[in-house]
C-alpha cells in the first residue's frame, strides 16, 4: 500500500461526484477474469492485496496534472484506466493507489476531415468515434475484439489492433501525437497534427503501448482515413487445416489485399456455430478461412471473387455471405475469448486458461510450423486447444485450459514456456496485440533479454519514483502472482 492518500485535496480538484472511495465499491475495480479465478481458488492470494485505494474520474488535463503532483509528492501509485477490457492484467492494482478512470474525459475536441485527423480525449469510446467518422465517410480502422466497449485511450495505451491489421495496421500507425501528463504533473506534447514528422526522438511511439507505465495520456491526435464504402465477407472451408493455410499464403502472394483473413480450426468453428443462427453456421471443416474484402462494391466483389477462386483451386468449398449477415458472423468471431469460457468452464472444476500464450505472433511463413509443433507440445502434456488467428499478420490466438491443482499448474507452466520458446526461436513475439501487463510480465525477459534493462532505464528516467502502474511490463518488479510456479 502507498502512503496515506490526501483524499481531501483530491476532492477539491475533481469534486465529490468524481471520486469513489468506498472499499466495498473499490472491489469492483480490482479484478480481471484471471485474478478473480486465482483469488477464489488459491488461498495464498488475497483480494486485499489487489485493491485500489481510490478511483478518481478527472474531467480535464489540468485535473490530471494536479492529481499527479499530489501522487508524485506522496509516492502514490496511479493506474490509468479506460473501459477495463485489457486482457493481460494491465489494470490490476498490485500496490494499491489511485485508479484514474477516464470515462468522463470523453470529448472529441476536433475533427478535421481535410487534414485527416481528429483530436480527442482518452475516454472516447471506439464505437462512438467510428460512428461519427463513418457519418463523414472516414474511419479509424483497427478493430479489437473489445470494439463494443473499449476506449481510444485504452487502445493507444495498449497499441491494440484486431481483425483488420493485415491491411490497416495497428493503433500506433494512426497516432500522430499525444498530450501526456508525466508523473510529476508536467504536461508535454508529442508529435503534431501533420501526417508525418522526423522531428526529434519519436516520443509518440514510446508512449503508445506503454500501458500507463510512462505517462498519462490525456489527448490523442489520431490520423483518420476514408472508409471503404463496401465490404464483402466470404468463407472457404478445407478438409485439412494445412491446406487452408497454404491457400491463404497463395492469396497473400498473389498481391491481393484482403482487409481481414482469419484462420479457424475445427474446434473454433464448432464454438462459433453454437452462437451463429442456422443460416450463418460455418461448414464443419478442419480448416476454415474467413475473409473480408473492401473498397467500392466492384473492387470488393472482384477481389473476393479472385480470393475465393484461389481457395477453390486449393480444394476449398467457398461461400459469400450477404452483408447484413456478415456483421453477426464477425461479431461472433470477435467474441472467441468469451465463447471459449462459455464452452469450457464447469462449476465443479473451474479451469484457468493459458493466457500467456494467447496472442503470440510469428513470421507469416512460420505459422504452419508453429501450430504443428505447438499441437505436439500441448499433446505431450495432455492439453488440447483451439486455434484461430489473423493469418495476414502472423498473429495466432490459442488457448488450452488447465486444472488449478498442483499437477495442472506445473504442466501448464512448462507447456506454456516451451511454446513461448518455440515462438521466439521462429523469430516471433509473445504478444501481438494484448500487451504484457501483469500476466505476461514474468516471461518478458524470455523475449527481450538484456533489452529489458534499456526499457527499465527509460522507465526510471520518466518515472523515477515508480508511481505509474507499478508491477506491469516487468519495468520495476514482477509480482508473485505473475509466476505460475508461485501459485503452488
Amino acid at each position: 500500500m502507498s502512503k496515506l492518500i490526501p483524499v481531501e485535496s483530491i476532492l477539491k480538484i475533481v469534486g465529490e461526484e468524481n471520486v469513489i472511495s468506498s472499499k466495498a465499491h473499490l472491489i469492483s475495480y480490482a479484478l480481471d477474469f484471471r485474478l478473480r479465478r486465482i483469488i477464489t481458488m488459491i488461498k495464498k492470494f488475497k483480494l486485499e492485496d489487489f485493491l485500489p485505494e481510490l478511483v478518481v474520474m478527472p474531467e480535464n488535463t489540468e485535473q490530471v496534472s494536479e492529481i499527479m503532483k499530489i501522487a508524485y509528492e506522496n509516492e502514490i501509485p496511479v493506474i490509468p484506466r479506460g473501459a477495463g477490457t485489457s486482457l493481460s492484467g494491465q489494470l490490476i492494482p498490485v500496490k494499491g493507489g489511485i485508479i484514474l478512470d477516464f470515462r468522463k474525459m470523453n470529448r472529441i475536441l476536433e475533427l478535421n476531415l481535410r487534414a485527416r485527423y481528429t483530436v480527442l480525449e482518452p475516454g472516447v469510446y471506439y464505437k462512438k468515434l467510428n460512428k461519427i467518422l463513418t457519418e463523414n465517410g472516414f474511419w479509424f480502422p483497427p478493430d479489437p475484439g473489445s470494439a463494443e466497449l473499449c476506449t481510444i485511450g485504452g487502445m493507444v495505451a495498449n497499441n491494440a489492433s484486431g481483425l483488420r491489421a493485415c491491411k490497416y495496421g495497428t493503433t500506433k500507425d494512426y497516432v500522430l501525437g499525444l498530450e501526456v501528463v508525466l508523473p510529476d504533473g508536467k504536461i508535454i506534447k508529442t508529435g503534431s497534427k501533420a501526417q508525418k514528422t522526423s522531428s526529434g526522438l519519436n516520443l509518440t511511439d514510446l508512449f503508445v503501448g506503454s500501458e500507463g507505465c510512462l505517462g498519462i495520456i490525456t489527448k490523442i491526435i489520431l490520423r483518420i482515413v476514408p472508409k471503404p464504402p463496401h465490404e464483402i465477407t466470404g468463407v472457404a472451408s478445407f478438409k485439412q487445416f494445412e491446406t487452408a493455410l497454404e491457400a491463404a499464403y497463395k492469396v497473400l502472394e498473389s498481391g491481393l489485399t484482403p482487409a481481414s483473413m482469419e484462420f479457424l480450426d475445427m474446434l473454433t468453428v464448432s464454438a462459433m456455430n453454437v452462437y451463429l443462427p442456422k443460416e450463418l453456421k460455418l461448414p464443419f471443416a478442419k480448416g476454415t478461412l474467413l475473409i473480408r474484402t473492401d473498397g467500392t462494391l466492384q473492387q470488393a466483389e472482384e477481389e473476393m471473387k479472385q480470393i475465393l477462386k484461389i481457395c477453390e483451386e486449393a480444394g476449398g468449398q467457398t461461400k459469400i455471405f450477404p452483408s447484413k449477415d456478415a456483421e453477426e458472423l464477425w461479431n461472433v468471431r470477435a467474441a472467441l475469448f468469451q465463447l471459449a469460457e462459455r464452452a469450457l468452464q464447469t462449476p465443479e472444476s473451474p479451469k484457468m486458461s493459458s493466457d500467456r500464450i494467447m496472442d503470440i505472433a510469428v513470421p507469416l511463413d512460420k505459422i504452419p510450423e508453429f501450430l504443428s509443433k505447438t499441437r505436439q507440445i500441448a499433446k505431450s502434456y495432455g492439453f488440447t486447444f483451439g486455434s484461430s488467428g489473423h493469418i495476414g499478420d502472423g498473429n495466432v490466438h490459442m488457448r488450452f485450459m488447465f486444472n488449478m491443482d498442483e499437477n495442472g499448474i506445473k504442466k501448464a507452466d512448462e507447456c506454456e514456456k516451451k511454446i513461448i520458446n518455440l515462438a521466439l526461436e521462429l523469430g516471433g513475439t509473445i504478444t501481438a496485440e494484448h500487451g504484457i501487463g501483469l500476466w505476461k510480465s514474468s516471461i518478458l525477459e524470455m523475449e527481450h533479454g538484456n533489452a529489458i534493462e534499456v526499457m527499465r532505464k527509460i522507465k526510471k528516467a520518466l518515472d523515477p519514483k515508480g508511481i505509474l502502474n507499478p508491477g506491469k511490463m516487468a519495468l520495476d518488479f514482477i509480482p508473485d502472482v505473475a509466476f505460475l510456479e508461485r501459485w503452488l
Binding site: S28, T40, E148, Q338, T346
Partner: protein, 369 residues
C-alpha cells in the same frame, strides 16, 4: 449441487462469465453512475465473491446488488448471453436465506405485500362491477393500474366492451408476486403465486389479460413453478394488436403527436414484444413515431421504476436520460405500455416539457371513447 439443477445451471453461468465488460455498454445504472460497482460486471464480481464468502455482506455492496433493475440489457449485450439478471436474483435469494437486510424501502413494500397480498389499493368497485362474474377471461388489474393509474383500467374495460370481449375483475385481486421474485424472496413469491393459481382455478379462468408487463411475464413464465395448468396470458397490447389485425379497431381520430415508444423491460427484452405496440401506433392517423437511436427495442433504457423507492436519485437520473433523448430528437410525447414506467418517467417529464402517455390513452382518444 446436482448436475442439471437450477443451481448448477446458474453456477455454470457464473463461471462462464469472463468479465469482458460488454455488459457495461448499455447498463442504465452504470451509464448514470459511471461506477463499476453499479455495473453488471461489478455485480458479477460481487455475486462470485459473496457466494464463495470471500467478502462480507456490507450495505454498500447490497446497494449495488439491489440497485440492479432486472432490465436484462446486460444479458442482451453479453456475447454469450450469460444470465446476469438471473444470477443477481439468485444472489438475492441466497442473501435473503442468510438474513441479509434488504434496502429499507424494499422492506416496506415486502411488508405491505405480506400483509395485504398486494400493494396500494384494490381494483376500484366501478371497474369490478363492469365485469361479467361468469366470464372465463380475467382482466388482471395489477397494483399500479388499480391505484395511481386506474384510468388505464377504465379505458381497457371500455375497449373490451366496445369490441365485445367479456371479462371479469377480481375485487380482492392479489399482486402477481413478480416483484417478490425479483427481490429474491422466492418462497414468498411462491406462496402468493399459489394463492393466485387457486383463485384462477376456483373462478374457472382460462385467459388473463394484464395491463402491467411484469404481471404478464410473471404469470406467463414464472407460474410454471407452482402449476402445470396452462392459462393463456396476454398483455393488453397484444390484445389490441390482434383486434387491429382483425379489423376491429378503427381509429377515427387523428392524434397529431410526435412520439417515441419506450419499450418496458418486462415487455420488450423479457418477452420480446416489440412490434405490436409500434404497429398500433403506426396505425393511428396523424401520429409520428420516432426511435431513439441505441435506446429502443432490445437496447431500451430502463427508466428505473423498479428501484425508485430505495434509489430515488438514481431512478430520477435514469428517467431523465429518456426524457432528454426523446426531446433531442424532437418528440413531444413518450408512449409506454407499463404503468410503472409511466409513473416513473412522468415525475421527470414535466420539467422537460414532454408528456408521458400509456398506449391505452392514445388508443382511446383515437377511437373516440
Amino acid at each position: 449441487m446436482a448436475v442439471g439443477s437450477r443451481e448448477y445451471k446458474l453456477m455454470r453461468e457464473l463461471v462462464s462469465c469472463g468479465l469482458c465488460g460488454f455488459c457495461l455498454a448499455h447498463c442504465p445504472t452504470f451509464e448514470v453512475l459511471k461506477n463499476e460497482a453499479f455495473s453488471p460486471r461489478g455485480r458479477m464480481i460481487y455475486t462470485d465473491l459473496l457466494l464463495k464468502e470471500i467478502i462480507p455482506v456490507e450495505k454498500e455492496i447490497l446497494d449495488a446488488v439491489f440497485s440492479c433493475t432486472n432490465c436484462q440489457t446486460c444479458q442482451y449485450t453479453c456475447p454469450t448471453s450469460v444470465k446476469v439478471s438471473e444470477l443477481i436474483i439468485y444472489l438475492r435469494e441466497q442473501l435473503s436465506k442468510k438474513g441479509a437486510p434488504i434496502p429499507q424501502k424494499f422492506k416496506e413494500i415486502v411488508m405491505e405485500l405480506s400483509e395485504k397480498g398486494r400493494l396500494f389499493s384494490y381494483p376500484p368497485d366501478n371497474i369490478v362491477k363492469k365485469g361479467n362474474p361468469k366470464s372465463e377471461r380475467l382482466l388482471f388489474a395489477g397494483c399500479v393500474a388499480s391505484s395511481q393509474l386506474s384510468n388505464l383500467l377504465e379505458i381497457t374495460t371500455k375497449i373490451m366492451s366496445t369490441v365485445g370481449l367479456d371479462f371479469k375483475v377480481f375485487a380482492d385481486e392479489n399482486c402477481c408476486g413478480g416483484f417478490l421474485k425479483i427481490l429474491g424472496l422466492r418462497e414468498e413469491f411462491k406462496k402468493l403465486a399459489q394463492k393466485n393459481v387457486e383463485k384462477f382455478e376456483e373462478e374457472g379462468i382460462e385467459e388473463v389479460i394484464t395491463i402491467c408487463p411484469l404481471c404478464a411475464e410473471t404469470l406467463k413464465q414464472d407460474y410454471a413453478e407452482v402449476t402445470s395448468k396452462s392459462i393463456n396470458i396476454k398483455h393488453v397490447v397484444q390484445v389490441l394488436c390482434e383486434l387491429l389485425d382483425n379489423g376491429k379497431l378503427k381509429f377515427a381520430n387523428s392524434i397529431p403527436i410526435k412520439c417515441v415508444y419506450h419499450d418496458p423491460c418486462h415487455l420488450g427484452r423479457h418477452m420480446e414484444i416489440y412490434d405490436e405496440p409500434r404497429k398500433i401506433l403506426e396505425a393511428i392517423p396523424g401520429l409520428k413515431l420516432m426511435e431513439i437511436e441505441d435506446m429502443s427495442k432490445e437496447l431500451s433504457f430502463c427508466c428505473g421504476g423498479p428501484i425508485r423507492e430505495p434509489f430515488r436519485d438514481l431512478a430520477w437520473k435514469m428517467s431523465e436520460k429518456i426524457c432528454e433523448e426523446a426531446k433531442k430528437i424532437g418528440a413531444n410525447t413518450i408512449v409506454t405500455t407499463c404503468p410503472t414506467c409511466n409513473r416513473n418517467i412522468s415525475f421527470n417529464a414535466l420539467q422537460h416539457e414532454i408528456k408521458v402517455q400509456d398506449i391505452l390513452e392514445i388508443v382511446a382518444k383515437a377511437l373516440n371513447i
